[in-house]
Structures are given as C-alpha cells and as structure tokens.
C-alpha cells in the first residue's frame, strides 16, 4: 500500500527539485530553458557581429574581439542552443510518445544536463581571460588554434570534452529508452517520426562525438606536450585536423536537423488533418541521410588540394544527399495536398521551415558542385546557406515544437496573437538577415572578416537591420512562454483537433508521472 503511494509523489520542493531530479519532464524543461538562455547569449554575440558589419570601417570592436564573437557565436549556438533544445524535446516527448514512464537511465539524465552549465560557464569565461577567448572560428582549424591560439584554448578544449560527454550520455539514454521502454504494441514502424529521427540522431552522436573528443585531445597534446599531430614543422599534418574535425562536423550538421524533420513530420499532419504521406519512405530517407552523412565530410574541404579522385568522390556523394532530402520535402508537400489546413503558430513555423530549409537545401546542392564551390567556399554564400538550414531550419523547428507542445507542458493555451506576431517578425527578419548574404558571397565577400570593401556596404546594412529585427523579435517568444506558464485558457488533453499520438491521451498539463502502467494498445495507431 505504502509502495503504491510512493509511486504517486509529486516533485520535491525548492531548488533540490531541480538539482536532484531524475524526472524526464523536469530535465526536459531545464534543457529547454538552458538552451533558450544560450540562444539569447549566442544571439547577442551575433548582434555584436552585425553591429560591426553595419557599415565599412571598424566602429565598435577590435578585429581580435570580432573573431572571438564569431567563434563564440558558433560554438554557443551549435552546442548550447540547438543541441540542448533537441535533447530537451527528446526528454519531454519521447517517453510520452512511446508510452514509457520515464527515460531509461534517469540518474545519468540528470548528470548529462547538469554538467552543461559548467561547461558553458568555463567556455564563456575565456572571454575574460588574459589574451581573450577562442578566436579561431567554431571550426578551430590547426595550426591557428594550436601554435597560434590564445592561452585560453586549453579551457575551451576542456569545455568541449564536457559537452561531448554530455551529448554521448544523452544519446545512450535516448537509445536505451527507445529500444527498451516502448509500450506493448508500439512497434518500431509505429513510432512517431520524432522518435525515429532521434533514434538515428543518437547513433550519429555516439559515432562522432568521440572523434571530436579525440581531435581536441590531439590539440591539447600539440599545445602542451610537444606532439606535432597538426604541426607541419614537426612532421604533422594540418589537413589531418580538418579531416578529423569534419568527420565529426558533417554528421553533426545532421544531428542538428534530423530531429527537426521529426518535429515537422508531427506538426504538418496535425494541422493538415491528414496522415503523414509516405511514413515508411520518411524512415528510410532519414536512415539514408544518416548513412550519407559519414561519407561526405570532405566537401567542407574542397579547397585544401585533395587529389582529383577524392574531390570527385565527395562531390558525387554530397549530391546524392539531395535525393533522400528531396523525398522528405515532397512527402511534406503531399501531406499538405488535399488536407484541411489551419494555420496556428506551430503550422506557420512548420511551413516556413519547409520553404526556407528547402532554399538552404538548394544552395547545398549548388555548393556540392566542386568547381563552383571554389567560388562559394568561405564566402557569405556559405554563411547564408548554413544559416538558412540552421535558423529557419533547425531553430524554426524548435520554435514550432515549443508552440505545438507548450499547452501540453503548461496546461494552458499560449497567446495565439502574440505567437503569430512572433512568427511574422521572425520570418521577415530572418529573410532580411540572411537572403542578402547570398549576394554578398557571390559578389566576393569572404566570411569571418570584421571589415569589408565598399561594394559590400549596401547588402551588409540590410542584413544588419534584419539581424536586429530577428534578434529582438525573440523577446516576444520569451514573453509568450512566461505568459503561458503563468496561466491562460485551459488546454484540453487533445489540444489540437488533428493531433495524433500517445502524448495527447494524457491530460494537459502532463502529470508529473505518466504511463506508470502501459497505455491501452488500441490507442497506438499507425502514423
């Protein structure tokens, strides 16, 4: 009797609830709040960059600080904003979607979150150290980051180690949960696509995070222990660094987009009131993209002087990625086709995702064409390309997910008017921000420069205006979330008319403990 009673306890009181929690919902919320804080910090760094680039000449910052801003902006957005946001969504939603009571490894779950704030505190503190923080770009190419790096590089390396450990633990947890804790009747091919994409993402993480740890360890040895892995003068090879980095870095790109595909595959059917078109092909396309992600890394290095055969291989393999990615986009459009659509905020973000991510995909195909890549490489064209897939791509999907599941998390409906305002300002802002960067790159503006020739002045000020518009619009999102947490119209369990899946069978807000007994198998339908 008392044992049964214990199972129904609520959250602990005070700060210890958050420090010691093993509850997937609490940990998910912490990941999401942390990610949002990092998003604002990384965004602030981006605004420093856009302010300096508002007009030619040096106005606000020194070139060295500018380089620290570009570096930190990249590191924080990739490792601090996008990745933890997806882990937070995974924590919240995967157990709810597969009918599991919690994540498989709850204590490790707590640890993988709580080491993150320490890693980022260390990384950001390098900005205040003598000699400044990392100033060699988020890709930290050797020997600029080793022989020529600032003294704080060692702290950066340690922070990356911790982030890697956190990611690996998170990934192990996701795999263990999905493979072991699905409710009876939840076969693999009935899992929501968000669960599928996360399962594949988790394998990518486990495969490549150790490579990142290896490469930063080699840097550490080059800096402190007299090795010469990347030092040509000692018989080492600076290009080896890039091969190792991008063997991690390219799958990393998909780590940041596959869960987004899962989210969009949940939202579009809901608001089109029609089943997802081509579920099976979506699963196979995701797996194909994951496989291809391991054999295309050197397309980031077309200008290092690889042999012709290598260039051709990586060009063909990269072009192939367009095929499964295309299948996904076509399936989403086919889902919308002859549906019965409404356009609440999550759907608006999802549609914008499909359009703008596809534009990023188009420039991706252009970049795959090696001889043309010689012109695009390391210019603002590349900056525009990866920001299109990451901001209106990954980040919009996270925002879509936030609006979509916020009523389930808080029990209240968010303010739809403010949500739509946030969407439209973000949508307009992001395009003013990044679209002109295509033109800048084609006209010849290199990336990572604090000052530029006069012919680049016009599109740069436009881009900066868009940057500030997009940046400050995100405060609306913060306001909407706080308002929704504090109250509003009560949400039903179903929340959205067309929503399918187990998460909509539990009340809103989702109780602290859900699916302590497996759900009724008849509730589990093909997606």
């Amino acid at each position: 009797m008392s044992a049964a009673h214990d199972h129904h306890h609520g959250p602990a009181k005070g700060i210890s609830r958050w420090l010691f929690t093993t509850n997937h919902k609490d940990i998910g919320s912490m990941y999401l709040w942390f990610s949002f804080a990092m998003f604002l910090l990384g965004g602030t760094f981006a605004l420093v960059i856009r302010a300096e680039l508002f007009q030619p000449g040096l106005q606000f910052v020194e070139p060295n600080f500018f380089n620290q801003m570009t570096t930190m902006h990249g590191l924080i957005m990739v490792f601090g904003a996008v990745m933890p946001a997806f882990v937070g969504l995974a924590n919240w939603m995967i157990p709810l979607m597969i009918g599991a009571p919690d994540m498989a490894l709850p204590r490790m779950n707590n640890w993988s979150f709580w080491i993150l704030p320490f890693a980022f505190a260390m990384m950001v503190s390098t900005l205040f150290m003598e000699g400044g923080g990392p100033n060699f770009g988020w890709t930290f190419y050797a020997p600029l980051s080793t022989t020529y790096g600032p003294p704080s590089t060692t702290f950066f390396i340690f922070a990356v180690h911790i982030l890697g450990a956190s990611s690996i633990m998170g990934a192990i947890n996701v795999i263990a949960t999905i493979l072991n804790m699905r409710a009876p009747g939840m076969t693999l091919m009935k899992m929501p696509l968000f669960v599928w994409t996360w399962l594949i993402t988790a394998y990518l993480l486990i495969a490549v995070m150790p490579v990142l740890a290896g490469v930063v360890t080699m840097m550490l040895f080059d800096i402190h222990f007299g090795t010469a892995f990347f030092d040509a003068a000692g018989g080492g090879d600076p290009v080896l660094f890039q091969h190792l980095f991008w063997f991690f870095g390219h799958p990393e790109v998909y780590i940041m987009i596959l869960p987004a595909f899962g989210i969009i595959s949940a939202i579009i059917p809901t608001f089109a009131r029609k089943r997802l078109f081509g579920y099976d092909s979506m699963v196979y396309a995701t797996a194909s993209i994951a496989f291809l992600s391991f054999i295309v890394w050197a397309h980031h290095m077309f200008t290092v002087g690889m042999p012709l055969a290598g260039q051709l291989f990586f060009m063909y393999a990269t072009m192939l990625i367009a095929v499964p990615t295309g299948v996904k986009v076509f399936n989403w459009v086919a889902t919308m086709f002859r549906g019965s659509m409404t356009f609440e905020t999550p759907m608006l973000f999802a549609i914008a995702f499909v359009v703008l991510f596809t534009i990023g995909g188009f420039t991706g195909v252009m970049l795959a064409i090696t001889p043309v890549d010689f012109q695009y490489h390391d210019t603002y064209f590349v900056v525009a390309h990866f920001h299109y897939v990451l901001v209106p791509g990954a980040v919009f999907s996270i925002m879509a997910a936030t609006y979509y599941w916020l009523p389930k998390w808080t029990g209240y409906m968010y303010d739809e008017t403010l949500g739509k305002l946030h969407f439209w300002l973000s949508f307009i802002g992001v395009n003013i921000l990044f679209f002109p960067q295509h033109f800048l790159g084609l006209a010849g503006m290199p990336r990572r420069i604090p000052d530029y020739a006069l012919q680049f002045a016009d599109f740069n000020w436009i881009s900066s205006v868009g940057g500030f518009l997009f940046g400050f619009s995100q405060l609306i999102l913060l306001f909407v979330i706080i308002k929704c947490v504090r109250g509003g119209k009560k949400a039903t369990a179903q929340v959205w008319e067309g929503a399918q899946g187990l998460e909509w069978t539990v009340p809103s807000p989702a109780p602290y403990h859900t699916f302590e007994t497996p759900p009724d198998p008849t509730l589990i339908k093909a997606q």
Binding site: P143, K274, M366, I369, V372, Q375, P446, A453, A457
Partner: protein
Amino acid sequence: MLSKAKLWLGLALSTLMFWSAGLHAAWELNMPRGVTQMSRDTYGLHMTIFWWVVAIGIVVFGAMLWSIIHHRKSKGAKPATFHESTKVEIVWTLIPFAILIMMAIPATRVLTDAYDTTGSELDIQITGYQWRWEYTYLRENMDEEEVSFFSILSTSREEISNAIEKSENYLLDVDKPLVIPTDTRVRFLMTSADVIHAWWVPDFAIKKDTIPGFINETWVVVEEPGIYRGQCAELCGIEHGFMPIVVHALPPEEYQAWYAEQQQAAAEIRELASAEMSMEDAMAQGEQIYNQNCVACHQANGQGMPPVFPAVAGSDKATGDRLITMDTLVNGVPGTAMAAYGRQLNPIQLAAVITYVRNAFGNDTGDLVQPTEVNAYIQEGQ
C-alpha cells in the same frame, strides 16, 4: 518589450539612410563571369544548377502554395485519406537523381580541367604569411637575379578607423601587386609560412588553401589585361580581413619589360645594402615598416596586446643586446605569432626597423644598425 524593438529598428533605419548616402551603391547580385576560360566554365555551371533549383523550387513551392490556398479548413476543405504510394516515391527519387547526373557530367569535366596543371609557361610560388602574401617567380637559371617580393595591404589605418574618407579600393589595395602576363599559362605553387590561408581571385575562379608543409598547385590563363582583386578566404588570425590580393595582368611584352626592371631593382638593392644609412633615414623608413608589418600585434604605441603579443616598448628584446633584437626580427620566435622577417624584408628594411624599435616608444638605446651588419648576421646564420 515590443516598443523597445521598434525603437531600435526606427533608430537603425533612420541612421542607415544617413550613413549609406555617402557610400557607393553596389547592388551586385551574382558571381562575376571573370576573365579566364575556367571562370566562365564555373559561371556556366553555377547558372545551370541555379536554374535547375529555381525550376524545382517553382514546382515544389507552387504545389505548396496551391494547397495552402485551396485546401484550407476555412474554405471547407475535407481531408483526403491517401497516405502512401510507392510509385510516387520512386518517381520523386528517380527524377532528382537524373537531374544530379546531368549536373555531375559537366562538373566532372570542369573539375578535371581545373586539376590539369601541366604545360605551364611561368611558375610563381605564392606563400601566405600572417598577414601578407609573398610572390616568388621561379627561375629556370639560378644565376639569374631572383624576383621575389611581399604584397601588403596599403589602405591606411586612418581609413579603417574612419578618421579619413575611404578610398575607392578600400581594403583591396596593396603596396606591390602580383604581375602576370596575359595569354600565358601560369602555374601557381601555393604554401604557407605559418597558418592556413586561402588565395582567392574571383575573376580567375581560383581559390586554393595555402597550407604550411604542403604545396598546392593551380593554374590560370588570363585573357584580358587588367587589375584583378581578391582577398584571403581562410580565417588566419586577427588581420585576416586585411590581406588583399591584387593581380596586374599585362600583355606579354609589357610583362617582360616589368620583369627585367624587377631583376635590375633586385640587383640594386643588393648593392644599396652595402651602403651606410643615416639615423633619420633609418628611423623614418623604420617607422613606415613598423606600421606596415608590426602594428597589428604590437600596436601603434608599441604596447602590444599582452600576453599573446608582448610590448615592444621597454622590452628586453628591443632594449638589450642588439644581437637579440636582430635574432628576433630575422628568425622570429618559434611557437608564437612572431614571424621570421629575414626573408620578408630586405637588409635595408630590417636595419631600419631594428633601429626604429630600439629607439621608439621610449626605448632609447641610441643604436643605429646598418644593413651590412644585418646582412652579415643573416649570412652567418646560414
């Protein structure tokens, strides 16, 4: 919060109208066609793939827009129930695949051509340094005078700090451009003395990394005489944005005349290096060299940016034994950003800048170092 965003936007909009009024309006939207066969091939591929993606975009976004307009609940649309079709999936897998093959064939041809570095009529070695380029014309006969020089940003610091109006080729001007003949197959051999840089001239469609310990090759045949500008494309440290590339392409006869002139100048410098220099000359030239080469790290006041870039003012290396100053300048400091200037500057320039750092920023050794002394020091080292 909203009003704050609006205020910022309003401020930004009103100020940018004012600022941009004095600047060149340049709304260039596309890649340059360039002045080589390779750059035109590249441009052609770029436009082909561009029109392909535009066409696919029209179809995909068109279908989406159609659905959004017609299949909305507010118009009474009832959802259909279809949700899979293997046939359709196969079709939209094969069509993109076929388009990609059509793109891959010309791309392979152009890439193979770009990699064919045989048959060069002139070889030039390009070496990247933080933050300048060195151009060395490779000789057939080692008895000939060697033509080799550094090419450094010539835009003034005052322009960069907005103290004076910016010139037309702001940040894209160098003290000494690379000169090449037109209608001649020129091969570039590229390497670096420190970090990775990338040598990029858009009009040639050449972008290649210069990597320490490696030699990369590429080639060009420029068809039109003219001045072509580019920039370093790989982040290479603080002054990455300030190492432009300028290439003068001259008709072959003019190029030959220029080359002969350079050989003669090189011979003259060797002669001059044996002459005495006055203190005023040394300090004046030294200051100029300091401002071109040293100021980025050691700063205009000689205070540096410790701990990465130490101060020159009051430093042991500048005020102690002159041999130590000479060693630092000639051989650099391994494992730091301090480059070896023994090759980058000629003995006259080295003597001038050594004299300068030993007598500027409050350093008062009173020493005058002569080119002959530096030359002797370099010869000894070898």
